[in-house]
């Protein structure tokens, strides 16, 4: 069972990717990308986890007490911010596509251009 969080991360990544490939709607595609990206949060936090480790905040806990890795938590924070900005940009682009092509289906947009 000790690999379960890593397998979960791989599963989220693959399921998100499958959603993107089979997507029929650009907004659905953006949500699938978020699912895919959330696999990186799970992976980062799982790598930094220590059994019986507390949060890496030493207010009230003595320095040297067993704590999980703070670096991957900071990386996850960056990751979340990037995820939000990417989704916002994709949704804005989807609005533009809908204005021009009157559809959000990626397949129909290709047909519309060709």
């Amino acid at each position: 069972m000790s690999y379960l969080p890593y397998i979960l991360a791989a599963w989220l990544f693959l399921v998100g990717l499958y959603g993107i490939v089979t997507s029929r709607n650009l907004i659905h595609l953006a949500v699938c990308l978020t699912v895919m990206q959330s696999s990186t949060y799970v992976l980062l936090l799982a790598i930094g986890y220590k059994h019986r480790g507390t949060a890496p905040v030493f207010y009230g806990a003595p320095v040297g007490s067993r704590a999980v890795d703070p670096v991957v938590q900071a990386l996850t924070l960056t990751d979340v911010v990037v995820s939000v900005t990417v989704v916002a940009l994709i949704l804005a682009l989807a609005l533009d596509v809908h204005r021009d092509a009157r559809t959000l289906d990626p397949d129909e947009i290709a047909a519309f251009e060709g």
Partner: protein, 252 residues
């Protein structure tokens, strides 16, 4: 390629990728048996060295401050991108025009009003607390900033578009968002002027476990909070404007 073939090809590729991913995680240290050197070293040394008891925030604004500078500009650039895509033309009449065209969506349910009023002050306070004590207890500029913006989203939920729009004028948001990014950059220059390297903690660490334990790091923290709050509100406002008053911004 037809849709069916594409999905079949994709499934084969995904199966291959799944095998590779599983093969690669099997060699990772087992879950809970962390062996990284950096994390342990920072947990040992960050508090004695920097006096900030929240090591994650210390990493974000101090040890990896340069990365956070880049992250600020990722956020800034994407908000500018969304604004450019959604806001086609801008003149002084726009604000009034948006308010005139917007449908009347005032909330009429007293229960929603009361729930909103009960939610907004605690949310706002919690946001300020998360930012202020970000270097001492769990929290920080990013987390607190999102919560501060969330408190204002509740205004929209509880009172409707007009109340929200009048409370968060877009020019102010533009200004706040730019100032947040600028403040972060200039605080780095401040360290240069103090004779240290860029983004160095030029005020020096204060007493451990207090609000000024971070020296100049809380300033970076507040600059980030300002930028994140403004960025979240701007993104929300731009999408909302397109929704409530789609014809106001003329197309090119």
């Amino acid at each position: 390629m037809s849709r069916r073939t594409r999905i079949a090809v994709c499934c084969v590729a995904l199966a291959g990728l799944a095998a590779l991913l599983v093969a690669s995680v099997i060699d990772l240290p087992a879950f809970g048996h962390y062996q990284g050197a950096y994390g342990n070293q920072l947990n040992r040394e960050a508090v004695p060295e920097r006096h900030t008891t929240n090591v994650v925030t210390a990493i974000v604004f101090d040890y990896r401050g340069f990365d956070t500078l880049a992250e600020e500009f990722i956020l800034f650039a994407s908000v500018v991108g969304v604004t450019l895509l959604l806001r086609r033309a801008k003149d002084s009449e726009d604000e009034h025009e948006v308010l005139r065209k917007a449908p009347d969506d005032r909330t009429r349910s007293d229960a929603v009003h009361v729930a909103g009023l009960a939610l907004i002050p605690p949310l706002f306070l919690l946001g300020l607390w998360l930012v202020a004590f970000g270097l001492v207890t769990p929290g920080g500029g990013f987390q607190g900033g999102v919560l501060l913006a969330g408190a204002l989203f509740v205004v929209f939920l509880a009172a409707g578009f007009r109340a929200y729009y009048e409370l968060t004028p877009t020019p102010w948001l533009d200004f706040a968002e730019g100032s947040g990014a600028a403040a972060f950059t200039l605080l780095g220059v401040g360290a240069l002027l103090a004779g240290a390297s860029y983004l160095h903690n030029f005020l020096g660490p204060g007493p451990r476990g207090t609000l000024d334990s971070g020296g100049s790091l809380p300033l970076l923290n507040w600059a980030t909070a300002l930028e994140v709050t403004a960025a979240m509100l701007l993104l929300f406002s731009e999408f909302l404007e397109r929704y409530v008053a789609p014809g106001v911004r003329p197309l090119p």
